[in-house]
């Protein structure tokens, strides 16, 4: 495949993490995510926790680090890419403004990227040596499952998306998080904790209603399941709850995955797609991966997950890769002053997609 050899700097500040990355086509040269841990390690612990969500204080340092790790200078860059939405407006603005400034300073064109496009193409990231090699075959199904999103998308070409279904209330990852809180009292995030507890539990110990199986569409809903868990937990004494923690976690997780798989199954049948790309934080869950693989095999589909842990949650490398795909199709923003954030951006009516 002939990917452009152009170097691209990408930035994502759509939620909690401040992210920057440098990519060459699909090859990831650096992928920096500024989390609380990196904050203390990299900056000698001098940052107060008040900076936790202040992207402004971190963005320049994160970009500098991404450039340094990739071993390049601004003069080497050909394009800039940035997430314009969806996300938290005050956070998005920080990334968008940083990229606009760089664009003006170095006369570089900007490729605006929808955050969800990034998650879709995170499955096709390659290392410096171009591995793993994964061929993109349109049309394919993208299944995006995270703390903020639950979406089934039919991808018919670069920048051509059809949302088949999404959540009408809570995201699947959010339900897992809140379930952890109800079962153990744990704080945010609780998804990884549920996964750990569930490994030792019986998924059929408690029967939860599997949401949205009778609606006939591809929408998701998890708020009712959360309430069902609440009432089971409330009916127990503290001792009972502690003794059944693993079973509660396993059964609750089972219900969520069952509904996700139910809809994925329907979407495969409905679209006839032969390839599935799964993105978002929940794709890190090993049981979920296994269940998706089993379903895909039974349907004769290939399935891809992000090839590295650092590509599962929010990151900028995926934004760079999605942007690199757009370079091929010449989806470039001519006037960087036209770039605006959109906190409710959706894949269905994609901005900046005209040639």
């Amino acid at each position: 495949m002939n990917y452009p050899n152009d170097l691209l700097l990408a930035v994502d500040t759509s939620a909690d993490d401040t992210c920057a990355a440098v990519v060459r086509g699909r090859r990831v040269l650096s992928n920096v995510r500024f989390s609380q841990i990196a904050l203390h390690k990299g900056y000698g612990g001098i940052f107060p926790t008040v900076a936790k969500r202040a992207h402004l204080e971190r963005i320049d340092g994160v970009i500098a680090r991404a450039m340094r790790q990739a071993g390049c200078s601004f003069a080497d860059l050909t394009y800039l890419a940035v997430t314009y939405g969806p996300g938290l407006a005050p956070s998005l603005i920080v990334g968008v403004n940083a990229i606009k400034e760089l664009s003006a300073k170095y006369s570089l064109p900007i490729i605006p990227v929808n955050h969800m496009e990034g998650h879709i193409f995170s499955c096709f990231a390659e290392n410096r040596n171009g591995l793993p090699r994964r061929e993109i075959q349109f049309p394919f199904l993208a299944f995006l499952v995270s703390g903020g999103h639950t979406e089934l998308v039919r991808v018919s070409d670069y920048a051509a998306y059809e949302i088949l279904g999404k959540t009408v209330d809570d995201a699947a990852g959010e339900a897992l998080d809140k379930g952890a809180r109800l079962i153990t009292g744990a704080g945010y995030p609780g998804g990884p904790l549920i996964e750990k507890l569930a490994r030792e539990g019986d998924p059929n110990a408690f029967s939860f209603p599997i949401p949205m199986t009778k609606t006939g569409d591809l929408q998701f809903s998890y708020s009712g399941l959360k309430t069902a868990l609440l009432y089971i937990v409330r009916s127990m004494t503290d001792e009972e709850r502690e003794a059944r923690t693993n079973d509660l976690a396993a059964s609750f997780q089972h219900a969520i995955f069952k509904s996700l798989l139910w809809k994925l199954d329907k979407a495969i049948d409905q679209t006839g797609c032969k390839m599935i790309a799964v993105g978002g934080g929940v794709s890190a869950n090993k049981l979920f991966r296994k269940q998706v693989r089993v379903l895909a095999r039974s349907k004769g589909c290939r399935v891809y997950f992000p090839p590295k842990r650092s590509l599962e949650g929010d990151n900028a490398a995926m934004i760079g890769i999605a942007a690199a795909m757009k370079v091929e199709k010449r989806y470039l923003l001519q006037n960087s002053a036209d770039l605006e954030h959109n906190s409710r951006a959706t894949l269905q009516s994609l901005e900046y997609s005209s040639v």
């Binding site: 926790t49 969500r53 009408v168 959010e174 708020s223």
Partner: protein, 156 residues
């Protein structure tokens, strides 16, 4: 309970939404008079129906988008097409622990005429509640579990 408080038992999501819509009309009437913004603080446990309540408000405002949980993204915004309120901001402080993080959202800067702000988990910052109460018309709504299908809704 003071004289202004209203107490109601809801036995369905529909009734919770209807309660929300009555509250919206009442708040609208006050805000129209002095062109201020409205703020509704929603209190109550996980699964009690705070998002359902907000869906009810959005329906009354003729918002076309589906109202989804703002827990992860902290803030969602919607455009309304009827009534005094034209813009709905939906906040969730669930994931925030420090007053400074809440300050960073700068909610007060959104208080313009025709704006309705709904805030879940405002219990985390009484300072925020006091601040917004000075600048807009506020209602504090408490939702409580009574049984799996019943909720007590109280406007304080």
């Amino acid at each position: 309970m003071n004289a202004r408080s209203q107490d109601n038992l809801s036995v369905s999501e529909e009734e919770t939404k209807e309660y929300a819509q009555r509250l919206l009309r009442d708040l609208e009437a006050v805000c129209v008079a002095d062109e201020k913004s409205g703020v509704i603080f929603l209190r109550g446990d996980l699964g009690v129906g705070k998002t359902i309540f907000t869906k009810g408000l959005a329906e009354a405002m003729n918002v076309h988008d589906t109202v989804t949980s703002p827990t992860f993204v902290l803030q969602q915004e919607y455009e309304g097409e009827s009534g005094y309120f034209k813009k709905l901001y939906h906040f969730d402080l669930y994931r925030l622990d420090e007053e400074q993080e809440i300050d960073y959202l700068d909610i007060a800067s959104l208080l313009h005429p025709h704006v309705l702000i709904v805030i879940e988990w405002s219990e985390k910052s009484e300072r925020l509640v006091a601040q917004l109460a000075q600048l807009s018309h506020v209602r504090i709504v408490q939702l409580e579990h009574v049984s799996p299908s019943e909720r007590r809704i109280t406007t304080l």
